[in-house]
Symmetry: C2
Subunit: 207 residues, 2 copies
DNA sequence: GTCTATAGTCGGATAGAC
DNA sequence: GTCTATCCGACTATAGAC
């Protein structure tokens, strides 16, 4: 059985998923962990500090769990598939939902903001590596800043996660539309040199 | 001068932006509006119901304000530019930030969820109309479900808004990467028939 | 419609026994 | 390390005067 410190870290994430940032308190977390409320302050000093620690703990743990699957991705298609299963699995598990809640809290709580940045960056780095690999031979890599694209992708993913929470049907349609986009990107890769020439010509004209 | 009801609706949005969903209460809203706390319950029955009303009120108002600019967009480029200024202006104004906070709250509060769906759908509809128009002659329209793409775009936009709140520099890089994407999409349009043929061939092979 | 006052609950945080 | 007990402030919501 895990020690109290770990139980609190894990309970904090579950509580964020269950009750949102607004319903997350020392009491609700301790209840979820099955321990006394005062232990939050003994082990972490304050609720905020527990949330900060939980954010890093949870992200590290989940990212490590998916690392092998990120590494085995060989195409944009497969990356989107991984995104969809990650979405489904983490929605059940709740750690991306917790990150989303912390992100919302971090907008107005300066103590939370840097912690969520750290958590997000762990995901972003995995996405970046996968994108660098998958787009190595694609014209996309020439015209798009891949590290920036990885950031945009991770942020968009969190947005879709939140969207799913209030309108699952709409979010489903949104995800489906992305299938079309990656199919087009695949076609682009096959016409590589042609696309490169046209895009370069266009860039010269417009800049 | 606005009546109390309207003052409360507007104060609710400002408060969501300033203090987040976790720091938004009848007291903080009433303080922002400069009226008595009991009036929240007199006019709206509960804090939740005020937030629901404020979400619709704010979205309708802001969407109406941007309608003309959405209508004047004639290319993906211009749509991205509009997105960037909308991002900048609304970040100062705070109504998209409020929507993001309600979205986070809606994850766990069933009374908030449908209200945020309504608010989001107002934006989605504008984006959809602009995309239908802008992509009318683009190969994108043939291979991507545009209504779904509009939903994905709006959700991604909210995700980027939240990302900006905790890591402005990272979010800037994310937005910049999108410039490359729309430039490529522009090149795609110019090679329309070619791309269409290649993409169709590819789809036949992969489906 | 707006105010004061207040009941009752919940949350952050600490003191001190074990 | 963990518990009980407790202070204090903030919260939702209502009653009732004006």
């Amino acid at each position: 059985m895990a020690d109290t410190r770990t139980k609190l870290l894990e309970a904090a994430l579950v509580t964020l998923g269950k009750h949102g940032i607004a319903g997350t308190s020392a009491r609700t977390i301790a209840a979820e962990a099955g321990v006394n409320q005062a232990l939050v302050f003994y082990h972490f000093g304050s609720v905020d500090q527990l949330l900060v620690a939980a954010c890093e703990h949870g992200s590290r743990q989940r990212v490590a769990l998916y690392r092998a699957r990120f590494a085995s991705v060989t195409s944009l298609r497969e990356l989107l598939d991984l995104g969809r299963s990650l979405h489904a699995e983490e929605r059940a598990e709740g750690s991306v939902a917790a990150l989303a809640q912390l992100l919302a809290g971090g907008q107005t709580d300066p103590k939370l903001a840097p912690a969520t940045t750290v958590g997000l960056n762990l995901w972003i780095e995995e996405v970046r590596q996968a994108l660098e690999r998958v787009l190595a031979t694609s014209p996309l890599a020439e015209f798009v800043d891949v590290p920036g694209l990885a950031r945009a992708t991770a942020a968009a993913f969190v947005g879709l996660e939140l969207y799913e929470g209030v309108d699952p049907e709409g979010a489903g349609q949104a995800f489906d539309a992305l299938e079309g986009l990656v199919a087009l990107a695949g076609a682009l890769d096959e016409m590589g040199p042609l696309v490169r020439r046209a895009a370069r010509a266009r860039l010269r004209r417009h800049s």
